[in-house]
């Protein structure tokens, strides 16, 4: 090409450097297709919500919004659907999961990111992530046939000794709320731990080094530099765990006993919103009211997890702003 040929035209009349019309058309096309896909996600979620609401409407019409959630009477044979026992079951099991799971998860995150020798850091992370790879139904199988029978004597002992505490005491059934909570605790451990680790990784090295330089021990450094800085993010991680626990279905359905009563103690059988859907779905297929009630339970679950997750994401995103690492916790 000779000098100054930038404006040279070929015999066809267009610049030799100009793109073909096909090539030019592809650019906006790709842009709009991809934007369309992104918009589709938002539409999908909106459509989701609306369809669930329409299908659940008959149940809400019959029992009222407040009545459906707060009435303590779930009786399939009489076609009365007040979801309070399920809501209470969901709250109790999730609370147990958080009380057991979160401290363990945070300790693990601290140990892995601040204390452990470099060499074991990677293997330890992988081991904890593997907990997320075990399918829910396998946790259920293990829970009902191994964990629940093995723990029953210990639970009974605890129940007898500490019966003065609220929600403890009385006979221990093999499938019960505590076992469900314990299994949930194991299941939320990887996500809470990995997000806490991500958040702890954003603590500035200067803060930690400053603490150490001033003579702090390792633990004092953690307490004064790491924990205060990452508190918001860790709370967010715990809430993400809560969201997981609330929505956990199959494992819970297998180990909770599926009794639609407000549990008398944490060692009695219960039911959760998610479990009721999985468990009663078959019998409900032919009964419109029952089906609407189950879909309404699903809607309550959806709204609950949406709220919990929205708040959790707000905290986590604020804590790890600008630093987006691979969200391994989502691998679960």
């Amino acid at each position: 090409m000779e000098a100054g040929s930038f404006t040279a035209t070929t015999s066809g009349g267009r610049s030799s450097l100009e793109r073909s019309s096909r090539s030019r058309a592809l650019d906006p096309l790709l842009r709009w297709v991809l934007t369309g896909l992104a918009a589709l996600i938002l539409l999908l979620i909106a459509f989701f919500f609306i369809r669930l609401f329409i299908e659940a409407k008959p149940a809400f019409d019959k029992f009222g919004y407040v009545g459906f959630v707060f009435d303590n009477n779930w009786d399939v044979s009489k076609e009365i659907f007040g979801a309070w026992p399920l809501v209470v079951g969901t709250l109790i099991t999730s609370a147990i999961a958080l009380v057991i799971g979160v401290p363990v998860a945070i300790s693990t995150a601290l140990y892995v990111s601040e204390l452990c020798p470099m060499r074991v850091r990677q293997p330890l992370t992988v081991l904890i992530e593997l907990l997320a790879a075990v399918p829910s139904v396998v946790y259920g199988l293990w829970g009902i046939f191994v964990l629940a029978p093995k723990l029953q004597p210990a639970e009974q002992w605890f129940s007898d000794r500490f019966s003065f505490l609220p929600l403890i005491g009385g006979p221990v059934s093999i499938p019960n709320c505590f076992i469900a909570g314990l299994i949930m605790a194991i299941m939320i451990l990887p996500i809470v731990s990995s997000i806490s680790r991500e958040v702890m990784a954003t603590v500035p090295a200067q803060d930690k080094e400053a603490a150490l330089a001033l003579g702090a021990t390792r633990w004092e450094m953690i307490r004064m530099a790491v924990l205060p800085y990452s508190r918001a993010g860790i709370s967010g991680a715990a809430m993400l765990g809560l969201g997981r626990a609330i929505g956990e279905t199959i494992a819970v359905t297998i180990v909770i006993g599926n009794a639609p009563n407000v549990p008398q103690s944490i060692f009695s059988q219960g039911y959760t919103l998610a479990a009721v859907i999985a468990n009663e779905f078959n019998e409900a297929a032919s009964d419109p009211t029952h089906r609407a009630a189950l879909i309404a339970a699903g809607l309550v679950l959806f709204v609950l997890t949406l709220l919990v997750n929205a708040i959790a994401r707000y905290y986590v995103n604020r804590a790890s702003r600008g630093k987006r690492t691979v969200p391994t916790g989502m691998a679960g």
Binding site: I41, S107, P135, V138, L141, T249, L301, M330
Partner: protein, 287 residues
């Protein structure tokens, strides 16, 4: 010369005890995995045999309960179709977020909702597909492809978020170099960005596949349950998680043993996928 006061005994004890506690709790965290794997192998290996993998469950109340062939085939087919839907879709959304929507309000909104979507319980996805596709009787009632749609919805946010992270790692200098050479944007995306990010994209997708393979709840309402082997995705289809769930519910020793065998199969499958994901990740040249 002044000497620094040594760390007092009390502070040292607190330090040691606290570190001990975190170590102990970390051990507690790893314990369940060991227990689960131990029981899976102990109870599951006994159920494994050639027949176990080559016969369908019979559903007979007495006698030979049969194997899990239909469940394995169903899981593979449904997860494959779900991946074919969710992976291109998810990577497409991630491309939008990274290449076109950077910093825009709309992109942030999409990103936020994708995050929120990861937290939606799988049972709700199942219910949704049930309402939209099964109740309306589009192409019959329960069908394998409807199960795939539910699984795809579940995989979508995982694929999108992992892909977004990987695409963000592709250095801008590469894009700028290609653009400066006169390449149109779409060529930059297909010839530069995607190939560079490929190992990471594969890793993210494999993790999503592993997650989908273990899901039970969405299939309960969409693909239903059937004993026989089914290759036609427009029919009811068996799957490993559902087979396990059903067998656990029966509480008969022979069926429970089959459940352990199927669970071991499922876990091996999922672990292989996760392992493959990690190996691919190692090949990535991106940080």
């Amino acid at each position: 010369m002044t000497t620094l006061a040594p760390v007092s005994a009390r502070r040292r004890t607190v330090d040691r005890v606290s570190r001990g506690i975190t170590l102990a709790l970390t051990a507690v965290a790893v314990l369940p995995l060991a227990f689960i794997l131990y029981y899976l192998i102990k109870e599951g290996i006994g159920a494994w045999s050639v027949d176990f993998f080559t016969t369908d469950p019979t559903g007979r109340f007495l006698g030979d309960p049969g194997g899990i062939k239909s469940a394995i085939i169903g899981t593979i087919l449904m997860v494959a179709l779900a991946s074919a839907i969710a992976i291109p879709f998810g990577i497409g959304v991630a491309l939008y977020l990274v290449e076109y929507g950077k910093g825009s309000r709309f992109a942030n909104l999409v990103r936020y909702f994708v995050d929120v979507m990861t937290g939606v319980p799988s049972v709700v996805f199942g219910l949704f597909v049930y309402i939209v596709l099964v109740v309306t009787k589009i192409g019959g009632t329960f069908a394998g492809w409807k199960g795939s749609v539910a699984l795809a919805l579940l995989m979508l946010p995982v694929v999108t978020r992992t892909a977004e992270v990987v695409l963000n790692l592709v250095p801008d200098s590469l894009r700028e170099a290609a653009l400066a050479l006169g390449a149109p944007r779409w060529r930059v995306v297909f010839r530069i960005v995607l190939p560079t990010a490929l190992p990471g994209l594969v890793t993210g997708s494999l993790l999503a596949v592993a997650r989908a393979a273990g899901e039970t709840a969405p299939l309960l309402f969409t693909a239903a349950f059937v004993f026989g082997t089914q290759f036609d995705l427009s029919q009811r289809m068996n799957s490993l998680p559902l087979q396990i769930f059903n067998d656990v519910g029966q509480a008969q020793d022979r069926l429970v043993q089959r459940a352990w065998g199927a669970a071991l199969t499922l876990v091996v499958l999922v672990l292989l996928l996760s392992l493959a994901a990690r190996l691919v990740q190692r090949r990535s040249r991106l940080a």
